[in-house]
Amino acid sequence: MSSRKPGLGRGLEALIPMASQTTNDAVRETSPDAPKDMFQLIEPDGSVLDRLPVTLEEMRALYADMVEARVFDHKSMAMQRQGRLATYAPFEGQEAAQIGAAAALRPQDWLAATYRDAALNWRAGYPWRLLILGRTGDERGGEVPESVRILPPSITVGGHMIHAVGLAWAEKLKGSDSVALTSFGDGATSEGDFHEAMNFAAVYETPTVFFCQNNGFAISYPVHEQTRSETIAVKAEAYGMPAARVDGNDVAAVLAVVREAVDRARRGEGPSLIEAVTYRLGPHTTSDDPGRYRDEDEGEDWRSKDPLTRIRKLLEKARGWTSEWQEELEKAASAKIEEAVEWAENLAQPEPEDLFDRMFSTPTPSLQEQKKIASDG
């Protein structure tokens, strides 16, 4: 049973395929290779399948964010090649998943995401300049402003999902209505920590949203080899947790589904798992060579599903897009990112002492002693 429904007739909530609800079968019948049985609102050609969760103006804003993210991604790839960034993990192709998910969060919500989630982090409040600073190899990139509740990107695969369970659990105990979203890849679901995080969230009914970007690969290892479950979403059944599978290249669909999951959590209805089916168009990181493990054709195929193109087409139809506007967006984005890069690159280099001063609230006597040795040479 497909959940692709043409027209704009029905309410959003009914459309969201939560695994434990009616559209369960749709989720279970799909396979990561043929991502057809998943929630979708906008087709690759820009046609709309159902009522959208946003106004035209909001859609334009989402599009603008995706453009800005892509400019960042391209700029970062280029900078890394020039030796100005340490390794960089590009997200090209995943903009809809990341911007859509972030748009569902409020400032009081927590976010624990990964090395590939720069767009998600940024849209949720993590300043570009700090994201860049971190990638130049500077711990100060992790020092988000006081009002921002986003953990520095997780570099280990899988270890951070349980953090979002603890964060959400604390908020629940405090009686606040904050939720925590954790973003991770298909590969991360193989780690034991995924299992423990999902189970804890379900057992304690923490307001946690598990957001998986299934981009087809864990470095070189394709998702259909990583697991024999037909989807990632179906894994939620092991925890009695609802789940949804969504077209991760459809920003409206992602926003709708994540918003529903966030709302459920906020209403005290517990955690859920969302699988956003997408594709990493670029290499795993700047040191990866995808030619070793996948066909160019596959990439081409996915390029035709580009998350930006389909919104551009939709907006075009709605007279919400012009090539001048596109140029404007790109120029503005470039300028913002240039500015951020400049800030990060011009920031004074870290001092040797910083190493020691960052370990504890107050450096221990041992560290003070070592600091002295270090500065005396």
Partner: protein
């Protein structure tokens, strides 16, 4: 509080912390209904309720990782790992996240949390129930590692650990839970994390130990004193950060040291202490610093336990040899 044993002192400290700071929560396997396998959390679920004391699934990485998230969000979680031999599934969370969030975020986030871990052998337990792997924790930058050996220290150090703005691994000597009694103050007090405690002053030799082995160390000191040796006994109490000055001061004075621990020799924390002391007072050393430790073997099962655990005799012999040197 009157005269209490180490287990009671810990129970009392947790009760006090729960009562005085609403951010404190406890989580761990079987800590609620049963009060934990060693009954350290006995009665706390009843007193403080199911929103403060949580039984958890059997998932150590989950326990520590969830506690970490809670700590970052402003709580003061105290996690219990049932035995040190079951702490390893959580090692990744400790070294890669708990110990690093402050550094990773340049102080924006911190993980003020305590991980309580009963450790050590001597009770004829099953495999994995007698571990002393303190050195794999003491090697992790960004956490503190504390080991009390008296009821008074147990209460004061545990309250200090819970108060601490940074994460603390709190090791509890199983063998001493009910073996030492002491009158301790019935008030909120803390004992500083850091300084070694000079438990006995002496001139001829320094015996250095911590946690469970303090028992045999004390007995060895008594034996040596009865032979006319003036023994200084140090209870290290905090393995990290290590009170290198405190250790050196004593050996500077006595010129001789024996370090006693239960963990295997190779890579045991005694190596760090010996290395540090010789760095600081080589020219005062009258004899090599000797380590009396467990062997480089798995901690054996009941029938062989006494073949492994450093006995009072071994400490006395080592001290005597050192005194000849």
């Amino acid at each position: 509080m009157g005269e209490v044993n180490l287990a009671q002192a810990l129970n009392g400290a947790l009760d006090t912390a729960l009562g005085s700071d609403s951010r404190v929560v406890l989580l761990g396997e079987d800590i609620g209904r049963t009060g934990g396998v060693f009954r350290i959390t006995d009665g706390l679920l009843d007193t403080h309720g199911g929103e403060r004391v949580f039984d958890t699934p059997v998932a150590e990485s989950g326990i520590v990782g969830a506690a970490f998230g809670m700590a970052v969000a402003g709580m003061r979680p105290v996690a219990e790992i049932q035995f040190m031999g079951f702490s390893y599934p959580a090692y990744d969370q400790v070294i890669n996240h708990v110990a690093r969030i402050r550094n990773r975020s340049n102080h924006r986030f911190a993980a003020p949390m305590v991980i309580r871990v009963p450790y050590g052998g001597g009770i004829g337990a099953a495999e994995h129930h007698s571990e002393s792997t303190e050195s794999i924790y003491a090697h992790i930058p960004g956490i503190k590692v504390v080991v009390p050996s008296t009821p008074r220290d147990a209460r004061g150090l545990l309250l200090a650990a819970i108060e601490d703005p940074d994460p603390v691994v709190f090791l509890e000597p199983i063998r001493l839970y009910r073996a030492v009694k002491e009158d301790i103050p019935d008030i909120y007090y803390t004992v500083d994390i850091g300084p070694v405690r000079v438990e006995r002053e002496g001139e001829d030799i320094t015996l250095i130990s911590w946690g469970a082995m303090m028992k045999e160390t004390r007995q060895a000191a008594v034996r040596l004193e009865s032979e006319g040796v003036s023994v200084e006994v140090l209870d290290v109490r905090t393995l990290s950060p290590l009170d290198r000055g405190g250790l050196a001061d004593s050996v500077e004075k006595t010129g001789r040291a024996v370090i006693i621990h239960e963990a295997p020799l190779t890579g045991g924390f005694g190596g760090e202490i010996a290395a540090s002391i010789q760095e600081r007072c080589l020219y005062s050393l009258l004899s090599p610093i000797v380590r009396v430790t467990g062997w480089d073997t798995v901690f054996p099962l009941k029938r062989s336990e006494t073949h492994y655990l450093p006995a009072v005799d071994r400490i006395v012999n080592a001290a005597e040899k050192t005194l000849e040197g």
